[in-house]
Structure formats: structure tokens, C-alpha cells
Amino acid sequence: MNRYLPLSILALAILAFATLMLVIAPGIQINARPAPEGLRPYTEAEARGREVYVSLGCLYCHSQQPRSGDQAPDGERGWGRPSVAEDYAYDQPHQLGTMRTGPDLLNVSARLPSEGWHLTHLYQPRAIFDWSIMPSYPYLFDHKDTAGPGDVVVALPAAHAPADGVIVASQKALDLTAYLVALDRTYPAPTNGLRDHGYGSSEGPEPTPAEEAR
């Protein structure tokens, strides 16, 4: 180990090899798959809402990748079928996440389709769940004396409502909610969808009883 040049070349060659294995090869494989039929691109409002989601860092507490029933009871919790690579065709930046300080959100709209619910929850999560540790996002809302025409008023229990006036949603809150209400990838998975089948058969995992019931 006495020469600088061979050391550098070998070190970079090894990195190039790793890049081939972890970036290029899977990239080719993933990009060869078309977007599933049930998946549509985000509308403008949804895309703006997704930007709010990204910029507030929801990712750091919420994953967007339900696991298969062979591995974890995500399906039974109502988080949706195991996701496949094709489900993310329109996602950039990806928001797969690595934490579940809060629940998985890839199919949150299948569980919680109500816009009003999300607005209340974003304004003050503890107005809905007293045990929640999610931050409140009051700066996404305006406090007004009376709601103007077109204002969306947030429904709040007395304990969390302001003493006078109303809480109305800002455009950001409405966009974010539009995104959350669009998060529903419960359409049938493409046959032979790409995912980590390390826990079950490659035909796709057994549906859990709860998934079957749907």
C-alpha cells in the first residue's frame, strides 16, 4: 500500500461497482414498469399540497410504504395493501419515509376521506386524539372574526376553539388537505408488482383477513 494512484483508482472503481448495483440496475428495472392504470398524476392543488407536506417535514414521522401481511399487520390497521414500485410513478421527491412515530399515510384517504377531519387534525391533533404527539400547525390557519364568503371554517370542539371568532383554513392548509385526500392507492396492484418479496411468495403476499373483507 505504497502508491497513491492505484489506491484512488481501486477505491473509485469499487464505488462505481456499488453504484451499478444499487442505483443503475434497480433504476433500469424500476423505470421499465409503466404506471398502474388506477394511478393518476397529482392535480395542481394536490401537487402544491405535496410541496407543503415536504417542506413541513411530515416525512420524518410518517412512512408511505405499507408492508406485506407476511411481515407486519399494516393491512389490518387499514394502511392498505403492500405497495409496489409502480405506485410511486408520479412521486418526486419520493416520501417513502423510515419512521412511524405516526401511522403510514400512503392510503390515508381510504381510512380518512373527510377534508374537514384533516383540517381539524392539522389545526390541533389533540382535538381529535388526546394521546397524539403530532405537532399542531396553527400557522396554516387564520383567526377571523367572521368567516368571509368562500372561507373554509375549521370545526373545533369547545376546548380547542378560540374564545371568539372562527378559524379558517389558509390556501396552504387546503392544498395539504387536497393532497392527503388524494392519498389512496388501494386500486389493484399491477400483476407481478415490484417490491421486496423477502417475506412471502413472489406471486404477492397472502391478503390479510382485513384486506379480504374489503
Binding site: N2, R3, L7, A11, A85, I133
Partner: protein
């Protein structure tokens, strides 16, 4: 398609194994010679067998400084860039820890500090991560590199001015990155949040460090490149490549982007922070003790094993996710293979310390560095096990991962860097720390604080994971059971943060209240 991909998997594994087998063969047949004698290139004449602990111990200020003309001529040139790198790193450390502590408290006090978007958990946590990784760890690691490389090559650092420019640009990029994140301008992927426009500046700053190191390496006065040099010279090339490839805007999307994301994020750990920490320990442990490392040939195995296996582990962050099975399996296998290089490093570093335990009493920097080196072994063993599918199913989405992240980034790399700063700064400034007791206080604050942090999140994380795997328990249970553990983490984190303030006070003390050595090694400065 599946067959060819299965082949790729097998190919990758076989290539890595073959490369390793070749290396072992080459070492045992003396095709590549690393003599135990080469391990001694780090010592100047007469240095061996003597502890190297000036400037950090009580009563030291009065002790006559042993003047080493070679080291002095070399250190004098690196001193200024190294002092600037370490000083600015410390600013980021203090800021980053405060953001970490705020983020931690927000998880059990969710309505605290919620008045505006920059204060929200998602941004505080991101500021924390980016400031401690790109601010503190990268800059303090670079300081070690700039200090150690000239010493092992026995020539003064070449183009020190370029290093200074790099340091300034790097700091500007980190500061701008922090402002961007706080204001909500982000690239939106973990570890890659700093907007790519600012990343270009960071990459340019990183490139400024390459030429001085290459020039120093080529001008070297010794034939052999000491093991720390392998780690440093490789890392300084790996980082810019990784950083640029991962930040190319608009090229990746969807799940492909996720594999790029985690290929990058784990390589920042494996091919950047780890080599900085391991290389520093490889130089300073034997240097402080005054005895060469235990088995020099094994260190070669450790280095190339790290390069081969670590570079391919990234997808263990996506186990059970929407990525092709074979990539996940590939990363899991390589994660387990990491036992080899880790054991190689462990044999060298821990045996050297264990044979010279007396030295821990004599040198506080050594105490930091050998503790950090031990935590490298621990973090790696834990990581290899955590990558197994069965274990990962429990721990993946929980705070167990966060505990592990701090075992690696904090207890290993950060604590090695504390020791390195304490070793380097008295020599770079020609002064002694005015309050040696505060060095020990720093050590105990951060080790005890870390222990509280680590054990609370590890236990809590496992319980959280088990609760989430049990369909009969509602999700809320996994949230509620974590609360006491999250509170405990805030207590541990407060002790760590306090330790970092003590560290900053020590550096300020050195700058403004320190007695000077009579024969300062850096008289020219």
C-alpha cells in the same frame, strides 16, 4: 429479467468475495507487503515508548514541552486551516445540538414552540441532522485529515490556502443550507435536504480539499502510506462523487430516487464519516500511547473490506419496502459481511489499547478516542444484526433506529473527534488547556448522557416495534408507550448538549486564557 437480476446479485457477492480472497492471498504471499515495521512510520525518532500527552493534563503547563523540530515544521503549516476547521465545526456542534434537543422535547411536548413553521419538528430535526453531519462531523473530520496527512507523510501540507478557501466555502454552504431548511426550501429527501443549488457550493468546497491532499501525498518523504492515509485519501474522493451523483436534479423519481437516496445516505456514513473516524483513531491511538498498532497486515483487510462491503449496504434502509427483492437481499448480505472489516479494525485498535491500559489514565484525548473506537465496533455489530430481516421487521420504523444512529454518528465519530480536537489544538496553538478538569467533565457528561439516550430509545424502540407488529393493539399504544422513553432521551440529550457547551468553553479557554508553552511548536505562526 428475474434471472438476470438474480445473477447480478450473485455476481456482486462473488466479486466482493473474490476481491477479498485475492487480498488475503496477496497479503499472505507477500505480493502486497505491509510490514509491521511500516506501522512505525508515524513516530519520529525517540517518540516510541513515550506517552504523547502535552497540553491536556493538569500540571502540564509547567512541564517542559518536548520540542520536535520535524513535527513543528509540519504542524506549523497545517495549524491555521485546522484551527479554523475545528473552530467552525464547534459552532455547528453547539447549534446542531440545541436543535436536536428542541426536536427531542417536541416529541413529548407537542404544543411547545408551535407558533411558526421554522419551529416545527420536521424542520428542527432536519436542521439538527444537517448541522451535525455537514457542519460538525464533516468539518472536524476534515481538520483531522489536514492535521494527520502531513504528519504521516513527513512533509508540510501543500496548498494550505486552498484548504482555507474550502473551509470558508463549506461553512457558507452549511449556513445557507440551514437557512434554506428553516425556511422550508428543501430537496425533500432524508440526508439530502439541502437544495441542490447550495449543494453545488458544498461540492466545490469539498473539491478544494482534494488537490492539497494529493499534492501532499505525492511530495511525501516516506515510501509507505500509513493506514490512516488510505482511509482519508479514499474518503476525500468518495464524498464529492457521492454528493454530486445523488444531487443531480430531476434525474431520479419515485422508488428509483429512494434507492439513490439510501445508496447516498449510507455511503455518507460508510465512505465518509466512518473513514474519517477510523482513520483518526488509527493514527492517534498508537501515537498517543507511543506504540505501533497490534497487527498492521490486518488493517489492510479492514480497509478494503470496508470499501467492498459498506458501499453496497444502502438498501437495508428499505427492507420490506417497494424495491426489488434482490437489491434488498444484496444489501442485507453485505451488511452481515461487514463483520469482517469491523473485526479487523477492532483487533488492531482495541488490542493496542488493551495492552496499554495505563495510558488511559495519562491522556484524556486517548480516553475519548478509544471509547469512540469501541463504539464503532458496537455500532457496526448492532447494525449488522439490525439489517437481518427478522430483526428489522421489529425495529425499522421505530426509535430503535434513532438510538443506533446516535451510537454510530455520536458515540463513535463525534467522540473520536472530541479526542482529536483535544489532541490537536494544544499542538496547533502551542498552548495548554487552562482547565484540565473541564476536559474530564466533558467526557463524563457526554458518555453518561449518551448512555441514557441510547438505552432509553433502544428499549423504547423495541417495545414500540413489538406494539406495532401486534394487530390486536391499536396504533395509539405504540405512541403512548414511547412517551417516558422520549422524555428520558431529552434528559440524556441535555447532558450531551451541556457537554458540548463545556467543549466550546474549553476551546475558548485555550484561545483566550491559556498559558503558552515556553517553546511553542508553532512559534512561526
Amino acid at each position: 429479467m428475474p434471472i438476470t437480476l438474480g445473477l447480478m446479485l450473485a455476481l456482486s457477492f462473488v466479486v466482493s468475495l473474490a476481491a477479498l480472497a485475492f487480498l488475503i492471498w496477496a497479503i499472505s504471499n507477500r505480493q502486497i507487503t505491509v510490514d509491521q515495521g511500516d506501522a512505525e512510520t508515524i513516530f519520529a525518532d525517540g517518540e516510541q515508548g513515550r506517552i504523547d500527552n502535552q497540553g491536556t493534563e493538569a500540571g502540564d503547563a509547567e512541564r517542559r514541552h518536548v520540542f520536535d523540530p520535524v513535527a513543528a515544521g509540519i504542524d506549523a503549516v497545517s495549524a491555521r486551516p485546522v484551527i479554523i476547521l475545528l473552530g467552525t465545526a464547534t459552532v455547528w456542534l453547539v447549534l446542531g445540538s440545541i436543535f436536536g434537543l428542541v426536536a427531542s422535547m417536541k416529541l413529548h411536548l407537542p404544543d411547545w414552540l408551535n407558533q411558526s413553521a421554522p419551529l416545527t419538528f420536521g424542520r428542527m430535526r432536519t436542521l439538527h441532522l444537517n448541522l451535525v453531519i455537514y457542519g460538525w462531523l464533516s468539518l472536524s473530520g476534515l481538520a483531522s485529515v489536514m492535521w494527520i496527512i502531513p504528519r504521516i507523510f513527513h512533509v508540510p501540507l501543500k496548498s494550505p490556502r486552498l484548504v482555507l478557501i474550502g473551509a470558508v466555502l463549506w461553512n457558507i454552504a452549511v449556513a445557507l443550507g440551514g437557512l434554506a431548511i428553516a425556511s422550508g426550501w428543501t430537496d425533500g429527501e432524508e440526508w439530502l435536504e439541502i437544495p441542490w443549488q447550495i449543494d453545488m457550493l458544498l461540492a466545490a468546497a469539498g473539491a478544494c480539499f482534494i488537490a492539497p491532499l494529493v499534492r501532499t501525498a505525492r511530495a511525501r518523504d516516506v515510501h509507505h502510506i500509513y493506514v490512516s492515509g488510505w482511509y482519508f485519501l479514499a474518503a476525500i474522493l468518495w464524498f464529492p462523487v457521492l454528493f454530486i451523483v445523488a444531487n443531480i436534479p430531476g434525474l431520479y423519481s419515485g422508488v428509483e430516487e429512494a434507492t439513490v437516496n439510501w445508496w447516498f445516505a449510507h455511503n455518507v456514513l460508510g465512505l465518509w464519516l466512518t473513514p474519517l473516524g477510523v482513520g483518526t483513531a488509527y493514527y492517534l491511538i498508537p501515537k498517543i500511547i507511543g506504540r505501533p498498532i497490534y497487527s498492521y497486515a490486518v488493517s489492510l483487510l479492514g480497509f478494503w473490506g470496508l470499501a467492498l462491503f459498506y458501499s453496497q449496504v444502502g438498501i437495508h434502509h428499505l427492507i420490506g419496502g417497494p424495491v426489488p427483492t434482490w437489491v434488498v437481499t444484496l444489501s442485507v448480505v453485505h451488511s452481515v459481511m461487514m463483520f469482517l472489516p469491523v473485526i479487523a479494525v477492532a483487533i488492531n485498535q482495541h488490542v493496542t489499547v488493551a495492552q496499554n491500559l495505563w495510558a488511559l489514565k495519562e491522556s484524556v484525548p486517548l480516553r475519548f478516542i478509544s471509547f469512540g473506537a469501541l463504539m464503532y465496533t458496537m455500532a457496526s455489530f448492532q447494525g449488522s444484526i439490525e439489517a437481518l430481516r427478522s430483526v428489522n421487521s421489529i425495529t425499522h420504523f421505530t426509535h430503535y433506529t434513532v438510538a443506533h444512529a446516535h451510537l454510530g454518528a455520536y458515540a463513535f465519530v463525534s467522540i473520536v473527534m472530541f479526542g482529536a480536537a483535544y489532541y490537536i489544538l494544544p499542538r496547533a496553538t502551542g498552548r495548554a488547556f487552562p482547565w484540565p478538569g473541564l476536559l474530564k467533565a466533558h467526557f463524563w457528561l457526554v458518555t453518561i448522557g449518551f448512555a441514557v439516550y441510547f438505552f432509553s430509545l433502544t428499549i423504547g424502540g423495541v417495545l414500540q416495534g413489538l406494539a406495532m407488529l401486534d394487530a390486536t393493539r391499536p396504533f395509539s399504544e405504540s405512541v403512548e408507550l414511547m412517551k417516558p422513553y422520549l422524555e428520558a432521551r431529552s434528559i440524556g440529550g441535555s447532558l450531551m448538549t451541556l457537554g458540548h457547551l463545556v467543549f466550546a468553553v474549553n476551546l475558548l479557554g485555550l484561545a483566550f486564557y491559556a498559558p503558552r508553552h515556553t517553546q511553542a511548536p508553532v512559534a512561526a505562526e
